[in-house]
Amino acid sequence: MTCHEVRESLSAYLDEALTPDERARVDAHLETCADCPRELASLRATVTLLRRVQPVRAPVGFVDRTLALTRPRPWYRRLAEALLLPLSVKVPVQVTGVALIALLAVYLFERTPELKQAARFDARPDAPAEDRPAPALRPPIGAASTPPAQRAKPVVPAPTAPPAAEPGASQIASRGESDRPDTSGRRDAAPQSPAARVQPPPAAAPAPAREVGAFVAPTGAPPPVKKEALGAAQAEAERRQAGLERSQDAARSAPSSPAPRAAATPRVLGPADVIARVAVQDRDAAERELAALIARVGGTVVQRRSEEALTVVEAVIPQPRYAEFSEAVGRIGSWQVEAERPDLPALIRVLLRLQ
């Protein structure tokens, strides 16, 4: 047996894993060899060292955690685990959701003209009136910019036609202005709706007092509106007037139909034909009565402003029934005409100051 063969067997020799025959041969070699016993000693020392290695202990809780794994989980735990996605799934899903909502919001904004209009209004409240394709959309900010078109609107006397017919009429009107988006037609219709007659747009409320003064001033004097804007508004009002008359002729059955030709004159666009003060006890009640009265005589409320001690109601009354109207107003409160145009048009613009 060579030293090499013996050395290969020394581990097994130490472990007593050799056959008796092998063991005897290794023993015989070790007695005669000088180096192999040293080799055996070093191996034995190594094994002794290894046996001194501290045994490792499983961490605390290991048995419980392992038993939990082998135990079948109850159905509600499995359901909860299925429903409650791991964070690695949940977070990307939520991020994607937020991004999609943001994209949808931008998309809707881009595709919806109303929202764009609203945003534009907020962004540039001082934009000149000429910029606008539809001056009527411009909210009344001050006396100078009170849209003439809005004043022109009430020229529409829908005497006995049911209120439901009015939006239809205004749609026809807006159809005449083909360059305008469809939505502006709906906007125009809003102030004419029955609800708006009682409650005008809130933007009209904080108008300064001097504005009222401007209306009280000389009869027939044009309001301080920019020339171009006024011209454009007048032209537009005429166009609209023409459209409305066509639609009304079809629907109307009232006896008090105003003369259409006269109504189309630009004069109705000017300031009030009649300015009167009505002293009343209860302004709110008076206002309601007045609204009812205006509707009864086939007129339309154009504008309404309520201030601390004053409510200004601007209405258009068909001339044939003006006498009836003035008589009835006299019953609401003490009615005092401050200014009156000598030649009253077919549609009389009346500015009443309830005090």
Partner: protein, 158 residues
């Protein structure tokens, strides 16, 4: 020593990382629990458990699933220093560190044999059964492992 400590100890020595060792040890028991019907009475239960653990460790070491190998080995090197017993002398701590390092540096197929033989005390036959090896293979691998360790631990052998 209860089975969980032995199984965990083998996994820790093989993988060098407590978290991975716990995973493997748990999987060992889960598999044993599931395959209890397959357990043949001709082997000791401990041998059977060692067999499962060893196979799981060697598979994991061989597969790409085992990431952070170096980090794990570093952890293994720290292992013996991490929990010094109150009665442990500085010299002994040093020895434990050197031993742990030397074992961790062995090739995996030799490491598992020396761990099962010299740390866990299995017989050659049990090791051959657990690792599904010939007795001669167990013997030669064990001898190579011990010779490696002797060379590395020479300064402690005086």
């Amino acid at each position: 020593m209860a089975y969980q400590h032995r199984v965990f100890g083998v996994a820790l020595r093989m993988l060098g990382n407590a978290a991975e060792a716990e995973e493997v040890a748990q999987e060992t028991f889960v598999r044993a629990h599931r395959a209890l019907g397959d357990f043949r009475g001709d082997a000791k239960l401990s041998t059977w458990l060692y067999a499962i653990t060893s196979r799981l460790c060697l598979n994991r070491l061989a597969s790409g699933e085992r990431r952070l190998v170096r980090q794990g080995e570093d952890a293994l090197l720290r292992l013996s220093d991490a929990n010094p017993r109150p009665d442990t002398a500085l010299e002994r701590g040093e020895l434990e560190g050197a031993l742990g390092r030397a074992i961790a540096e062995l090739p995996e197929d030799r490491r598992i044999v020396v761990v099962l033989r010299d740390l866990e005390g299995l017989s050659y036959e049990e090791i051959a059964q657990a690792l599904d090896l010939e007795l001669g293979t167990v013997r030669s691998r064990l001898h190579r492992a011990r010779a490696d360790l002797r060379d590395k631990l020479e300064r402690f052998l005086r």
